[in-house]
Symmetry: C2
Subunit: 412 residues, 2 copies
């Protein structure tokens, strides 16, 4: 049987090893991350497993089964700087416990192969490229775009990878790991407030929301704050402020939409000048591609209206986008059952944040994620937390889901 307390013990040990008073410091390609991975390798000793790193530095742990068809559990050990103790590593350490338990249960030879993957650089914290390892695995990675990436110190991605023994030209070879995968499961903290608000410990994830990410810049006329009458101004900030407020009703028209203006920069940005140029960023998400494109259109039209009202102009430049990625309906149903058997109640919810599971699902591998409640909806900082009782329930539910998924693979 699965031992949830062992997972808590490992989480505590990893926190002690890789955090400081500002939080977790397991930034991918850093010495602390390598230390976390070395610590994790120690945990694999004496287990009946094979393990290796693929060409993109994803770490694969395998219990061979009767069939080569494989159930994969996964998540990531890397964190953002000053991150939390659960984001990513909960899924890896719970996955290890489930893997160990399944190996024991079937005397080292389960009916199907069971694998655990620790994806490399999910966060993209240092080079701005999230889902690095899982997108290399999925073949959606673009090496050319990554060649020019540098961190704040000017170190190239290529050099950082090389120092970890990874050749950037070969990362596409990670797609060989796709072979024989029949299903993928990922446990993660919610990182939002929904489950806590509903007083439910766990939920099954419908899929990851599509994201439209744009730079929106308003151009007005820089002018002296003392000598320019109010009615003679072309204030780029005023147009941007209207958009910052208008994206909220646009998002609120749909139950699961979110829209965020996360960054505003003013130029010249001094106390004595009317803002001549205002650079903003917009991030919009929904699980429904049609709703998402409608939101984008509405925000764009609103920005053009506000620009006209303020005698400014506006330009939109795409930063990045991804389509909504739904998870597998039958695995969602199994996840719901596993949660109800464990906690009595469940909830179906979309994931706003992206996860490695999205990269796995988009190449057609049946995938589902399970969320465990976050306290105060906080993540990506040291205040990130989940009650220990809920973590234990999550491990038990993930184990149930793994067993159910093995049964489901058998039926295919």
């Amino acid at each position: 049987m699965v031992d949830p307390k062992a997972v808590l013990h490992n989480l505590d040990e990893l926190r002690a090893l890789t955090s400081d008073e500002q939080g977790a410091q397991r930034v991918a390609w850093s010495p602390v991350w390598l230390r976390a991975r070395a610590w994790f390798e120690e945990k694999l000793k004496d287990l009946p497993i094979e393990h290796h790193y693929d060409a993109a530095a994803n770490h694969w742990i395998t219990v061979k089964g009767e069939s080569e068809k494989a159930l994969v559990l996964g998540s990531h050990l890397d964190s953002v700087p000053n991150g939390g103790w659960l984001d990513g590593c909960l899924g890896v350490l719970a996955g290890l416990e489930v893997l160990t338990s399944l190996a024991k249960e079937y005397n080292g030879k389960p009916p199907f192969t069971v694998r655990l993957v620790d994806w490399a650089d999910e966060e993209g914290a240092r080079f701005g490229r999230s889902l690095f390892g899982s997108s290399a695995f999925a073949g959606s990675h673009t090496i050319e775009a990554d060649r020019v990436r540098t961190d704040r110190e000017g170190t190239t991605l290529e050099a950082a990878l090389r120092s970890c023994g990874v050749d950037v030209n070969r990362i596409g070879d990670a797609n060989r790991e796709q072979k024989n995968i029949a299903a993928y499961l990922e446990l993660h903290i919610e990182q939002g407030p929904i489950l806590e608000k509903l007083n439910k410990p766990l939920g099954e994830v419908q899929g990851t929301k599509g994201v439209e990410r744009w730079a929106v810049t308003f151009h007005g006329q820089e002018a002296h704050s003392g000598s320019t009458p109010m009615d003679a101004r072309r204030d780029a900030l005023a147009a941007a402020a209207k958009l910052a407020l208008e994206i909220r009703p646009i998002a609120l028209r749909h139950p699961q939409s979110v829209a965020t203006m996360g960054s505003v920069k003013t130029f010249p940005g001094i106390v004595t000048a009317v803002v001549g140029r205002c650079e903003t960023t917009l991030d919009m998400r929904d699980l429904d591609a049609k709703i998402l494109s409608e939101m984008l259109r509405e925000a764009r039209e609103a920005s053009e209206r506000f620009a006209r009202e303020e005698r400014c102009s506006v330009e939109w430049s795409k930063i990045w986008s991804i389509e909504p990625i739904p998870f597998h309906p039958e695995l969602i149903k199994l996840c719901d059952e596993a949660i109800i058997e464990t906690a009595g109640v469940s909830e179906q919810l979309p994931s706003g944040p992206l996860h490695d599971a999205a990269e796995v699902a988009r190449i057609g591998i049946p995938t589902v994620m399970m969320f465990v409640q976050s306290l105060n909806g906080l993540s990506h900082n040291r205040a990130e937390d989940t009650s220990r009782a809920h973590i234990e329930q999550a491990v038990i539910a993930l184990n149930r889901l793994a067993e159910k998924t093995i049964g489901w693979i058998q039926q295919q």
Copy 2:
């Protein structure tokens, strides 16, 4: 008689000597500024004058009259970086022409002493301290605050002054120049669009507006842009955006008020996070102290209301303030007459920007300023301009005002 073309000639010569393709570069305490001042000294040769620099590097040029009572004309040769060809130096070069003309008219001995002052570092562009020389003259300078000022390269104000032969400990001695001053006149470009809109070349200035300058910071809760539902957010930017829009009706309730949010900074300021902290600056101005304090109160109350609405908090921290400084009513009347005699029409308007004249007026010296029309309301950049015909009218009108002021001093 005064020769307006000589002023244009000098302005062109100074522009050629001290500008590059980005505009004027006569930043105070820089080699280019010293070059401008050396060029100006050359213009004084062969004139029947005495000249010297005071303890704060203000340059005083004196034509001794029958009486020691003095009429002073003034402005500044320094500019902002990438500045215009007229801001400041128009007043100095027109003043020189008027001084020369008066000396000739009275055969080197006018009834009163006539002086011209080129104030040091009006712009405060390098160390953030505007009206440096004139406030030393007026005794409102605080040496202690200036000791710690540094420029972007880390050079201290004290060291920059020393390299120009100025001892920061002695700048207060500039107040000796106050002696016997009976009136102060300053010609300046408007730097705003009012006169152009009214199609009037010149206007007399009622005084300089009072200024309330504050840092206004909203505190909300940083949150993940993907996982945080719209109704669970405490978005500091939303509260700030409401204030950016609300200061406009507050200012528009009064005919001459202006209110500007010139800088907005978002933290963490990334595309994927709801803004947890939003730092803004507010600059409000009016000629009426009562209206100004009412605007401040209204803006403050609005900010607190918006903070409550967005479940944020707000804090106000004063950056700087100055009271409205009215100019002398009789000199305003003389200025109006001089303008009407020159251009047929005039206009009374306040100055939104501060000027050295404000420092002179606040110690009780009868003071007035004359504005000449700016094209497109632009200043502090190379696009700053005024038609040459209007510059010529300005020189003639300033000369008339100087003559009238001598008459007025005589009547006192």
